[in-house]
Symmetry: none
Subunit: 558 residues, 2 copies
């Protein structure tokens, strides 16, 4: 066993490419950008962005990234080796890869002779030429290359000589990293250890930088990644929450804390590590999949304790009942009866919004109580930071009610025919603004857009800034799914004013009510942002007592 | 590494005890009996039934089992060592254990000195006496004892001498099995290997039978169980679907196929192994948790394939793209329908629905065209196989329109106040059934449940089977999210009739219309399934020309 610890292990996230292969998961360009930014913040050094050219969405994603580049992460473009019987420079497939404008490109090639002959329908020699030519061409174009050896372990077990020849070719052609892939996910940890050791022995004099890419078909993706690192690999590829085709990829939310906290390697900073739980939940919200409460490290139940004596023992000496401290990964201990944790989370969270809270401030306890009450109702603020900020401001007396909700009604009529008709929905809303009751109605080609339009109609004369922002995404999740269409619904609404994006949340047994609540907060937060753009100090202290801002005249209370 | 394969590994299932510790899972006596019988059928030799005395339910479960014993499995009663400072024979806790009437009893005791002193608040010597006395007493009462060494790995790492003394005591007192428990789930596979080897070395002359009990807090429960077996352990404790406290226990649905199919050990018969997938899903039904589609080996997506060329390669030589044959564990290969679908996908897919298509059949091309048109509109059939089957049947002239949609209308009124009121939504639907126009109305606490109720109201007299199925999940995704609330909406509806689950899809710019379309197909498909349960040939050829089935009289065309 290699005990060369404290050494850097390079994390390579492929949520945006391999993760998106998960059945039922589909990402918009906006989703991809949001996830990439969060991974960048987490400190992931490599992010595989997609296969530009395979679909128009990935092309556009890389263009967008050129306009708004990440802080530190390298985003790689992913592609196969060139086609057989054509020069790399002439293969049109590689042009969008170069156009993506990344410093790093990840090229996957065949390691398994059978796949060369049956899959590519070419010769073993031509496959080697494809590897060499593709890597050399990309390097000649100023790129650095990561080589993914597809089906490595299966190929090596059947024909080790040929498999090693493919690696030798990739190394000789200038690939910086060689990544051993367990594409079918069938390899066991002791086999990974042994084969990685054999690969290292096969290239004793080279400055070989190896990576590992594992799949979870045998429930061993994380174990295989760890086995490879212990055997000397320096890069681990995986995805957030283990998303991926079939049974998923190695879950980075488990790989990173195991490597860093258990094995003493270094992946990201300790501070970044405390963002792991939040990142996991953020990604699950963006992709609109329920977070797994029982996920190792980052799940809501991962540090949950039940029962009396046990609980006080946990309180006295947590490490006798926990394999590590949940705070290290931004998770929290949860005592199923009474939850004492959370206060410090609130403090940390408040700071991210530029609000400095004192632990002894009663507002702190108030926020926590309100938060728990709302979470019990089904609210979730992981991806709805705008709603959370409004909640905090309310507890601090810094939320100004810009309008009071009096009610709404919606009517949809499709009785005339079975195809949808334009403007089939009519919404009426009633709000009180600055002491005045306003009733407004609007049409829409669906009930939520009609509601949104009616609310804007009611408010536009009082708050003309509303015209500058609009809704950009809308996500719905059914909470207690066992009861079907009568279940509680959580709606996330994302809005934008062309400079900023913000997300709000609403929960109700009625999907339209949930949508309406989220839309209402979206507009309120948009107005708050607008007021901040006029008065930059407002994030710190939006409505300090005695100071009148342009929005501070209504005196309306909720 | 021990390569002593083909040897029997004893599977010990603790779904009914440790599995039931999972937050949100609760089992009735009836549930426990159903699961025990299914595990017995699967060939699991040991089933931990519960802790009789800890709650009345477990007492009754064991009584019930005495009346209707299992075929082959040993059901064990679970209990801790006796209390400090009292004789085992006088500890009332042990009396219900004996009354449970099992041949085997599992006793857990402390291995970690810290837990003895801080948790039990007794001396290290008394803990040894508790282990010895409890085991000896149970043996004197005719029981065979499995000894679970709680917190084994953590205890051994801190104080190996004392930890080994607890095992020595248990062995000397007559325990048949010694089970090493990673109670906090923090141990890594290489540590498990090493510590198991050290335990074996510590008792070189004894006929030591070791077991392993792992938790998934580090995402390594399965890997740790395998590492222990490779190091010489002969019993694996775990749960179905990995249920258990916090992040769960070792998932037997992964442990068994890995041991048997990958490592060549023998756990259950090959025929029993083909019941694994069904057992996993049965257990999830009984405990009322959605099965994990992405679960290794037994998940619905575990052998799912996407994409054209890839699919024909899988058909030709599955083992180049699959780590094992899904049939071995009773699962099946599944071709995912997506926008990359080619003709060969359609053919394979049709076969799984019992429809034999000819590549040259114009219907084939027609299905593909329709599929692409619908996918362009935003439909997605990856997760909506029921809708896809209806689509295929339509193209083949094998879809019978059971009712014709004439329209619908919904009214929600929240004008009275800002809080949601019960039954705030009223829906009206108009359908034509068997030549008759039916207008029906229903209320709901949301617009979708009102629509669902109104549709059922309209159809129930014609199709009473509707009462047997219900909606179990409802998912919403906004497609072109750039346009916010006016975006197109895709709704997935999952339904169940207690035997089968099916998913349908609807797309529209109006979320209620999309929901309605998905609900309509859910009901149509449910009726199709119902008709198949009466006439098993129908999957092959539901509505062959000239044959009249019980549902074949309406003549309604869409």
């Amino acid at each position: 066993m290699n005990s060369d610890r404290s050494e850097k292990i390079w994390i390579y996230d492929t949520t945006l490419r391999d993760g998106a292969q998960r059945e039922g998961l589909s990402l918009s360009i906006e989703d991809k950008l949001r996830i990439a930014k969060q991974l960048d913040k987490l400190g992931v050094p490599f992010i595989e962005g997609g296969w530009p050219g395979a679909n128009p969405k990935d092309v556009q994603f890389f263009w967008q990234l050129q306009e708004e580049p990440l802080q530190q992460a390298e985003v790689t473009a992913f592609c196969s080796t060139r086609r057989p019987g054509i020069l790399a420079a002439q293969d049109p497939m590689l042009q969008p890869i170069l156009a993506a404008g990344t410093r790093w490109v990840t090229i996957f090639g065949k390691s398994w002779d059978l796949h060369v002959i049956e899959g590519l329908k070419t010769t073993l020699a031509e496959n080697l030429a494809m590897i060499a030519d593709t890597i050399a061409y990309l390097i000649s174009q100023g790129r650095q290359v990561i080589y993914d050896a597809e089906h490595w372990f299966d190929g090596y077990k059947r024909n080790p000589e040929y498999a090693l020849k493919t690696l030798e070719t990739a190394i000789a052609s200038g690939a910086q990293w060689i990544v051993l892939c367990d594409t079918n996910g069938g390899t066991l940890p002791h086999e990974v250890s042994q084969i990685v050791a054999e690969v290292r022995q096969a290239f004793p004099n080279s400055d070989l930088k190896l990576g590992i890419h594992t799949h979870n078909d045998s429930d061993l993706a994380v174990a295989n990644a760890l086995a490879a690192v212990i055997a000397g690999v320096k890069m681990v590829q995986g995805t957030m929450n283990g998303y991926g085709e079939r049974c998923g990829n190695a879950n980075l939310c488990s790989v990173i804390p195991n490597l860093q906290l258990k094995l003493g390697y270094s992946c990201i900073t300790d501070t970044q590590l405390t963002e792991l739980t939040q990142t996991s939940r953020f990604v699950s919200e963006v992709v609109n999949l329920a977070p797994d409460d029982h996920a190792p490290f980052v799940g809501r139940s991962a540090f949950a304790h039940k029962g009396g004596i046990h609980v006080s023992a946990v309180e006295r000496n947590p490490l006798t009942y926990e394999h590590l401290e949940p705070e290290l990964i931004g998770n929290q201990r949860r005592i199923v009866i009474s939850d004492q944790a959370g206060l410090s989370n609130i403090l940390v969270k408040a700071r991210t919004f530029g609000i400095n809270l004192d632990k002894k401030d009663p507002a702190c306890r108030q926020i926590l109580d309100k938060l728990k009450e709302l979470e019990h109702e089904g609210y979730q603020f992981e991806a709805a930071e705008a709603s959370f900020e409004l909640l905090m401001r309310e507890a601090l007396g810094k939320r100004q009610e810009l309008f009071e909700l009096k009610g709404w009604s919606v009517h949809c009529d499709m009785l005339a025919g079975t195809t949808m008709q334009y403007k089939n929905s009519l919404a009426t809303v009633k709000v009180a603004v600055k002491g005045q009751d306003i009733l407004a109605a609007a049409e829409g080609n669906g009930p939520v857009s009609a509601l949104d339009a009616a609310l804007r109609e009611a408010l536009i004369n009082f708050y003309p800034a509303i015209s500058h922002f609009h809704l950009t995404d809308y996500k719905v999740r059914i909470l207690d799914s066992g009861v079907g269409t009568s279940a509680k619904t959580r709606v996330l609404v994302e809005s934008s004013n062309s400079y900023e994006r913000w997300t709000t949340v609403g929960v109700s047994g009625n999907i339209l009510e949930a949508s309406y609540l989220a839309v209402v907060e979206a507009i309120e937060y948009g107005l708050l942002m607008h007021s901040c753009s006029i008065n930059p100090d407002c994030m710190e202290n939006l409505y300090p007592k005695g100071v009148t801002t342009s929005l501070d005249q209504s005196g309306v209370k909720r």
